[in-house]
């Protein structure tokens, strides 16, 4: 769309650090999250979960529980018909098991009762007869032909014959002659890596309040990244029309990809339907860990060849991903992203999905990319070490740029990788002397970003203020950036604009808040809704002036005659036009609907300094700097926030976070005490350096920034630790016992 192409301009408000509109509510405790809503006559719902990693459900006897005083309703998988669509069926089966429990924590039944105590007691009275089956939680074991089979018949047509039944997908990307490439190399390094599954770790557990009425309508209040998608999933699972289900997004206490799919919501709706009363369900932290969104666990082989002067001649990777007990295509994203930062003549990546008895994978910030890029960036670093080359110079020498054929196929347009690398090179961090015992690591990162479906309605109020309705839950300040873009385009102060997130009955469809899409795609829709409102306001001004509407132009928040021939009239402000709107044809509103493309890929570079305690194996990150291309930072504070937050999550992934399964197939660490996310005293200040290389696909040049920042920390820290202890680490997390073992092994 030519209309949406980037046009260079001087910004007046975009790029300023205004106060976010939801700030006061959030610092006073007034903001309402998933668990904060109540309804008259509300029941409390609780879920019974499988204690087994893999078991056939022989029978479920709910009679004793149902007879308990205060128990109002019970549901099991039998209350839902399994959708025909395989993807939807998996989502439904994950919400409530059908014939098999597929992982420790898989939901088996749910109770609605007058309070939490009764509901909890009732769960104990539900008798489930299990036939325990052999299980497998390790990806490399699960890939073997003789492994216990998680589900039969799930392999896609992409899987070659002769593979084990748990291998469900294969994909391959790349170009060029690998053999010739490796032949040109002076040094080749081939290594195998493993990364543990990690959890998004949002502090707010999943929560919802469902209310079904006897005439078949329902309301759902829920913490979600995408209430429109939740409506789609829930209405299909409950066999109701979308219009009859109104979903309202609460404030959301973190998601990072983990709140993009349903768990409790269809169950709460069904319980409400059965009992005729509102039902509130809130997960415990234990349930969040056992039954919701971890990432894939992976096992990856990488081989890279390099010349003496640092030119990469060929890159190859074979990456096995496990998305838990269901089909999962995240390996496609990893296999495409692995070598994206490099301009390569010969590259090949192969991705596989392998089923294990683990929870169903949910997206986590750049899903699939951190693991793949960790493995590639580790090998690049080892080559630099081996050849005595500067790792930043090598990345500059091989960097993908405009005109590079990407490892996943297309030719890159304007991308900011080289500028980002140059910024890192110039930054004082890169040349700062290291103290005794410290080492420095760096890594590139990459994510695709996307746009997607978006509606915006912009209402011009008669007092000269503007209300915006959009459909994307605000996960980190997007209401502020949307209001800023509207204010910029309209030419009115930011304070005159209020943006709200509309429920599913009040606005057209909006894709989920994911893919780093909101500031980009809702931004496009907002700017164009403003342009629509401006066209209408110019027309009203033309009517009031008695001139042709083509003779009116909009600048600085007011209609002006377009030239001397249009007539001499003083500018008519938005407020002036709005005040007379009832007399000139009625209320004024701008609208825009789009399925946005052109998001533009995003690159980042992270630098870190670490100190490893050789006695304990504990790593302290002492300095950390993030460099990332934001296209245009609409609200720099929240762009920095995305860069810092992603880095912190990546540091946790690198050093501590992991799903630990016992030999019994049960998750050993389903709590924040044993699944250790970074706390304030674990981290150094994280410096964020924003680069602005305009995205040609957005009118203000915006690129999504939310996901790329989690990608580089894994390798940046691994590279630093490996240099510090003098041996290459090949497994995440680099927890103290693993680092200690590596130190001892090297000695």
């Amino acid at each position: 769309m030519a209309f949406d192409a980037y046009v260079k301009r001087e910004f007046k408000q975009v790029g300023t650090r205004v106060a976010r509109p939801d700030g006061v509510d959030k610092v006073t405790g007034r903001a309402l999250y998933g668990a904060d809503m109540v309804a008259p006559g509300m029941l409390v719902g609780r879920v019974l979960r499988s204690p087994h990693a893999h078991a056939r459900i022989v029978s479920i006897d709910t009679s004793e529980a149902a007879a308990m005083p205060g128990v109002k309703g019970i549901v099991t998988g039998r209350d839902f018909s399994v959708p025909k669509d395989e993807f939807l069926a998996d989502v439904a089966v994950n919400c409530l098991a059908q014939d098999k429990a597929l992982y420790d924590g898989h939901a088996i039944a749910a109770v609605a009762a007058i309070n939490a105590t009764v509901a909890r007691d009732a769960l104990k009275k539900i008798k489930v007869e299990y036939e325990v089956l052999p299980h497998v939680t390790d990806i490399d074991v699960a890939a073997k032909p003789d492994a216990p089979v998680v589900l039969e018949g799930r392999a896609l047509e992409t899987v070659p014959a002769g593979m084990g039944a748990n291998v469900t997908h294969r994909c391959e990307f790349g170009h060029g002659d690998l053999e010739a490439g490796f032949a040109k190399a002076d040094k080749i390094v081939e290594r195998s890596f493993r990364t543990a599954a990690t959890h998004q770790g949002y502090i707010e557990p999943h929560a919802c309040l469902a209310s079904f009425t006897t005439d078949g309508r329902a309301d759902l209040w829920v913490c979600t990244q995408g209430h429109f998608y939740f409506r789609t999933l829930c209405s299909e699972m409950l066999g109701m029309e979308a219009s009859q289900l109104k979903v309202t997004a609460s404030e959301i206490g973190g998601g990072f990809g983990g709140k993009t799919t349903v768990y409790l919501e269809p169950v709460a709706l069904m319980l409400s339907k059965k009992t005729g009363r509102p039902v509130k369900m809130v997960m415990t932290r234990d349930e969040v860990f056992r039954a919701t969104g971890p990432t894939v666990s992976t096992s990856i082989d990488v081989k890279i060849g390099m010349t003496k002067d640092g030119r990469i001649t060929a890159g190859w990777a074979d990456m096995r991903y496990s998305g838990g007990a269901f089909q999962c295509l995240t390996c496609e994203m990893g296999a495409q992203a692995a070598f994206a930062a490099y301009d390569l003549e010969a590259v090949q990546t192969v991705g596989w999905n392998v089923m294990t008895n683990r929870p169903k994978e949910a997206a986590y910030r750049a899903p699939g990319a951190p693991q793949a890029i960790y493995a590639v960036e580790s090998v690049v670093d080892e080559l630099c070490q081996g050849l005595g080359l500067d790792p930043l110079e090598v990345r500059i020498k091989n960097a993908a740029k405009k005109g590079t054929k990407a490892s996943y196929g297309p030719t890159f347009d304007d991308i900011g990788l080289l500028a980002t690398l140059e910024a890192a090179k110039k930054h004082p961090h890169y040349t700062a002397p290291l103290a005794e015992g410290q080492a420095r690591g760096l890594s590139c990162g990459f994510w695709f970003n996307f746009g997607g479906n978006t509606c915006v309605t912009m209402n011009v109020n008669t007092d000269g203020t503007v209300g915006i309705a959009e459909g994307n839950p605000d996960i980190g300040g997007s209401r502020a950036s949307i209001s800023l873009m509207a204010a910029e385009e309209l030419g009115i102060p930011y304070e005159k604009v209020r943006t709200i997130i509309a429920d599913t009955a009040s606005l057209g469809y909006a894709d989920t808040t994911d893919g780093s899409r909101v500031t980009f795609a809702v931004g496009i829709a907002t700017i164009n809704a403003a342009r629509d409102a401006i066209r209408k306001m110019c027309k009203r001004a033309a009517m009031l002036w008695g001139i042709d509407e083509d003779a009116v132009e909009w600048k600085d928040g007011a209609a002006h005659p377009a030239g001397p021939n249009a007539g001499k009239f003083p500018p008519m402000s938005l407020a002036d036009i709005a005040a007379k709107s009832f007399q000139t044809g009625g209320p004024i509103a701008g609208h825009y609907e789009v399925n946005a493309d052109g998001a533009g890929v995003s690159f980042g570079v992270h630098l870190c300094d670490v100190e490893v305690d050789k006695e304990t194996g504990a790593t302290k990150v002492v300095r950390y700097t993030v460099f990332q291309d934001a296209g245009k930072a609409v609200h720099p504070d929240y762009v920095e926030g995305q860069m810092q937050g992603g880095a912190a999550q990546g540091i946790g992934w690198a050093l501590n976070e992991e799903y630990i399964y016992g030999a019994d197939g049960r998750l050993q660490n389903p709590g924040f005490l044993d699944y250790r996310i970074p706390v304030a005293s674990d981290l150094p200040p994280i410096e964020a350096v924003i680069l602005e290389i305009p995205n040609p696909g957005h009118p203000y040049g915006v690129r999504g920034v939310g996901e790329t920042s989690i990608v580089p920390p894994l390798a940046a820290i691994s590279n630093a630790i490996s240099r510090s202890i003098g041996t290459r680490l090949q497994e995440l997390p680099m927890s103290p016992p693993r680092v200690l073992k590596a130190i001892k092994g090297a000695a």
Binding site: L329, T330, M333, A363, G409, P410, N595, D597
Partner: protein, 81 residues
């Protein structure tokens, strides 16, 4: 005719060709013609694909124009977190 570049594993359904030619002038025509000429691609097309046209990635934009000299790359359907 436009040249369409396929990702590696799709070559199994195009007699090993990484690049195929189809008579198409939009996103949707490319997919329709691919499915017609190479039925083995159908399951993947039904699961969803993205398409990079001159370096810009589109997800569902059926009527996006494609000119004979455009660079067209079929990619898996983009997802995110």
């Amino acid at each position: 005719m436009v040249k369409v570049l396929l990702w590696g594993s799709l070559r199994a359904h195009t007699d090993g060709q990484a690049e195929v030619e189809v008579e198409a002038s939009t996103f949707k025509e490319v997919l329709d013609k691919l499915a017609e000429a190479y039925p083995g691609l159908r399951p993947q097309i039904e699961r969803g694909v993205s398409m990079a046209i001159d370096g810009r990635i589109y997800r569902e934009a059926w009527f996006t124009r494609i000119s004979p000299e455009s660079e067209v790359v079929v990619m898996p359907y983009m997802t995110g977190g």
